[in-house]
C-alpha cells in the first residue's frame, strides 16, 4: 500500500517539478508547483512527518503560492520570448543536471549506511506530530525558532523596501528618473569595451540634453 502511494506521490512530485521547468507560461508553472508541493506533502506523510506535511500544504502550497499568483497576475503572465542568449544552456543545462543527478544518486545509494535500505527507524509514538515538533521548537531548537521569526520580519521589511508603492504615481506610468551614471566617452567601462551595449552617455551629445531635461521633468511632475 505504502509502495503504491509512494509511487503515485513521487511520480506526481516529479511530474510537477518537470512541469514547473517545462511549461512556458509562468502561471501554469506556479500551478504545477502547487501540484508538486501537494505530492511532496503526501511523501512527507508517508515518512511520518505529519506536521511538516501540514505546513507544506497550508503555508507553502497555500499562502506562498497565492503570493506568486498575485505577482504573476500583476506583471502579466505572458509567455516568455525565445531568449536570444544562452541557447547552448538550453541543451547543456539539462545534461548537466542529469549528470549531477547521477552523481547524487551514486553518492546517496553508495553509502555504507544500513538505514538507507531500511524503512527507517522504529516508529515512536508521537514522532512528527505537532506536539513533538512544538516541544522541540521551544526547547532544543528555541534559538532557531526565534531566529526564523526574525528572518520572516527581515523578509517583510525587504518586501516593503523593494515593492512599496510610491505615492502619487500613476500605476502604469511610473517612470522614475534614474540617476544615470553618465560616463564620459572612453572611460573604459566594460560595457564600452565589450562594444555590445554602449552604456549611458557614451555619446556626450546625446547625454547632454538628457541631463538638462532631468530636473525639468522632475519639477513638472508635481510629485
Amino acid at each position: 500500500m505504502s509502495a503504491v502511494l509512494f509511487f503515485i506521490a513521487s511520480i506526481g512530485a516529479l511530474a510537477g517539478a518537470i512541469g514547473v521547468v517545462m511549461v512556458r507560461n509562468p502561471f501554469y508553472s506556479v500551478l504545477s508547483l502547487v501540484g508538486h508541493l501537494i505530492c511532496l506533502a503526501a511523501l512527507f506523510l508517508l515518512l511520518r512527518a505529519e506536521f511538516a506535511a501540514a505546513a507544506q500544504v497550508v503555508v507553502y502550497a497555500g499562502a506562498v503560492m497565492v503570493l506568486y499568483v498575485f505577482v504573476v497576475a500583476y506583471i502579466g503572465g505572458q509567455d516568455e520570448p525565445l531568449s536570444q542568449v544562452g541557447g547552448a544552456l538550453k541543451v547543456v543545462g539539462p545534461l548537466f543536471a542529469l549528470a549531477l543527478a547521477v552523481e547524487l544518486c551514486i553518492a546517496l545509494l553508495g553509502t555504507g549506511l544500513k538505514g538507507i535500505s531500511g524503512k527507517g527507524a522504529p516508529y515512536v509514538l508521537g514522532f512528527g506530530t505537532p506536539k513533538e515538533i512544538g516541544r522541540l521548537f521551544l526547547t532544543s531548537y528555541l534559538f532557531p525558532f526565534e531566529v526564523a521569526s526574525l528572518l520572516l520580519l527581515v523578509a517583510a521589511i525587504g518586501a516593503v523596501v523593494l515593492a512599496r508603492r510610491r505615492r502619487g504615481l500613476p500605476e502604469d506610468e511610473e517612470d522614475e528618473p534614474q540617476a544615470p551614471i553618465i560616463r564620459p566617452q572612453y572611460t573604459g567601462t566594460m560595457a564600452e569595451a565589450a562594444g555590445v551595449r554602449p552604456g549611458f552617455g557614451t555619446d556626450p551629445a546625446a547625454s547632454e540634453p538628457q541631463r538638462a531635461a532631468t530636473p525639468a521633468t522632475t519639477s513638472e511632475g508635481g510629485w
Binding site: S10, A13, I18, V20, A49, A52, I75, E132, V160, A191
Partner: protein, 99 residues
Amino acid sequence: MPIGWYLVVSALIFCIGAAGVLTRPNPLVILLCLELMLNAANLALVAFSRMWGNQAGQIFALVVMVVAACEVTVGLGLIVAIYRRHLAINVDELNELRG
C-alpha cells in the same frame, strides 16, 4: 519503501530545479525552480529524519520552508521593483554589470 527511494526522488527534484535555473530566463520561474531545489532538500531531510528516527530533520525542513518563503518574498519584491522600473522581466537582459 526503503529510504533510498525517497532520496533518489529528492535528488531528481533537486536536479530538475537546477536545470530549470539554467534554462529559464524568467526570474519568476527561476524562483520557482529554486523552490524546487529547496523542496528537494526538505524531502531528503524528512527522509533522513525518518531513517534515524530523529526529529531534527523535520525541524530543519520546517526552517527551510521558512527560508524558502523569505527568499520568495524578497525575490518577488525585487521582480516587482524591476517591473516598476519598466525593465524587462528577463534575466538575460539584465547584464549591464559584467566583465
